[in-house]
Subunit: 198 residues, 4 copies
Amino acid sequence: MSKRWPYAVPGIPDDEFIRGKVPMTKREIRILTMAQLRLQQQQVVWDVGAGTGSLSVEAALITTGGKVYAIERNEAGIALIAENCQRFGVENITIVAGEAPAALRTLPTPQRIIVGGSGGQLAEILAHCGQRLAPGGFIVVNVLSPRNLVRTLQVLSNAPFCNRAGMYIQSAQLEKLGREDYFRAQNGVWIMSAQKEA
Amino acid sequence: MSKRWPYAVPGIPDDEFIRGKVPMTKREIRILTMAQLRLQQQQVVWDVGAGTGSLSVEAALITTGGKVYAIERNEAGIALIAENCQRFGVENITIVAGEAPAALRTLPTPQRIIVGGSGGQLAEILAHCGQRLAPGGFIVVNVLSPRNLVRTLQVLSNAPFCNRAGMYIQSAQLEKLGREDYFRAQNGVWIMSAQKEA
Amino acid sequence: MSKRWPYAVPGIPDDEFIRGKVPMTKREIRILTMAQLRLQQQQVVWDVGAGTGSLSVEAALITTGGKVYAIERNEAGIALIAENCQRFGVENITIVAGEAPAALRTLPTPQRIIVGGSGGQLAEILAHCGQRLAPGGFIVVNVLSPRNLVRTLQVLSNAPFCNRAGMYIQSAQLEKLGREDYFRAQNGVWIMSAQKEA
Amino acid sequence: MSKRWPYAVPGIPDDEFIRGKVPMTKREIRILTMAQLRLQQQQVVWDVGAGTGSLSVEAALITTGGKVYAIERNEAGIALIAENCQRFGVENITIVAGEAPAALRTLPTPQRIIVGGSGGQLAEILAHCGQRLAPGGFIVVNVLSPRNLVRTLQVLSNAPFCNRAGMYIQSAQLEKLGREDYFRAQNGVWIMSAQKEA
């Protein structure tokens, strides 16, 4: 069944995406990632390590007239991205099957880059993104591991990047526990971002 | 100096607002509040306890063709809302000076309600909002205190409200500490929301 | 196999307890609960809603010469407490099978009370504890739900209690995720405490 | 005025220490650090970067018959440690004025090591601690910065260390905000620990 997202802001509920066993960026983190990305209309966006395509779909819904490249190496993920595009009626996503950074070389220059997954190549991916990102463009990198946090900090703290920022988000959702409510914790995520020098 | 917000999503930096000593909803909480509000174009929004107007400004920038009513009883706040409207070139905010719920009675029916401050009248405000919110509309309530959390839970768990949801957000921002970086903690906030039965 | 805890501070690892399916207070929360309890030697301790007995065992190991009453209504829990006493070679725990507050009436006056579970009777339990706790004694109440937080706040804010304190603890543990490390979140817990007027 | 700590567990309130402007490990982090340290009686403890001596005092109160070496390079800190020893009537702390790792070379072999501050020498300090820690002994390292977290992870993941563990603690304390209560956030701390191979 096709779903449309009728609202003017990101925030599709997690369970509206088709997921399988591919890890998915949780809703709160998706919303804040989109905020850090500072999307505008008619932009080219790379979503590196797109997973289920949840961030690509949110970006594609916002950047009307723009184009989102969803880069993913995992076959299960590639199929899910296609399914999720169809589910949300999104037509401005191009799925790029392959491994970053190699798969990024022939893509058009992006004004915005999301790095949600890195398959062990984070330093190489960030270096390539630094070269290819349009001047003044924004990059947002989500990390779960301390080593990837430090790698990201090192790259985003140096030229050609500027305006490095970071947030750590720990969220919890209201759920029922018998007759009582409680807040179920999500794992914390670091959302790192920077701008490319103009 | 006038500022324009050129991006398609909420998330104005805290220090771009004129603030004085009035408490302001922090950026991460504003972004997630706007996500829970599920704004569409041409909607009527109430921002109850608008404070500096930061949530009103974000909402007004999103709901083009819509109208935001910023209700605030504090004089310093009322002046700041006016200044922030001018700063961001926002023309679809009406400032309502007065105390909720009394000040809400003559306002047009809202499709969306934000309750950011309650001045000790939370139960009365939520009861009035339940009557006045348009069927199918959304309400989002931000609370800092356990008692207000429970009051909000009680009201949003019962008719005419449905689809009650809640999240607890603990965020921290990357800052410098001498030569090292660290993450500076913000106070946790509960963002509660519900829909009015259609 | 019997285990001995050779260290001078609380903090038995979660997986050294026999658990079954009974919920158990996680190690970090146990450690901080014991700190709030401010145990001394030769004290009488009530552990209300003892579950697996993990808090009782920690308390019994600290209060040499003292006596811990583990009150539990659930049969699976009662059996587990006995097993955990044996496992850690603890002989100063008395298991009290029954429902609080009724089951508390015949117990000796406590200098310290832990309330870890309340089976829907939290207000009644806290009222009874207020009567029975020795003057100057401490009570520590762990809560997961907002309503129980507010109930506890209300009781501990009034006579015969004083020196009300509270902390919210959100912890996460380092774990492996493929080749990378990440921190796995535990649900947040409120640890509330107070002293009885002298 | 001299204070005595009459309780059998760590957890001296922050405001009972004499502090000045030297940063101090907050109470919740001190309690959990002491738990990770797994102190026994009659042990030699190093507290590297002792600051105000708050961790040294807690350790000295627990390890009766043992000896705590409080290593600190900052003059204000050295004076505060002496004052805090006197305040709590602790006589088994030796203050070592100097910079680690150099200042550690002539100290007796420790069974337990706390690293609370590193003055930019964390890698060197941890390497030296790996050599000097008694076989089977424990080390606990508190870090605030992502780079120090990764440095600590790298050292504690390799020989001569084993049983590496880590926790991230985000705590908040109940406080008054006008007529309402709220939880005031503390900055998150990573508490890393390991054992030396036997």
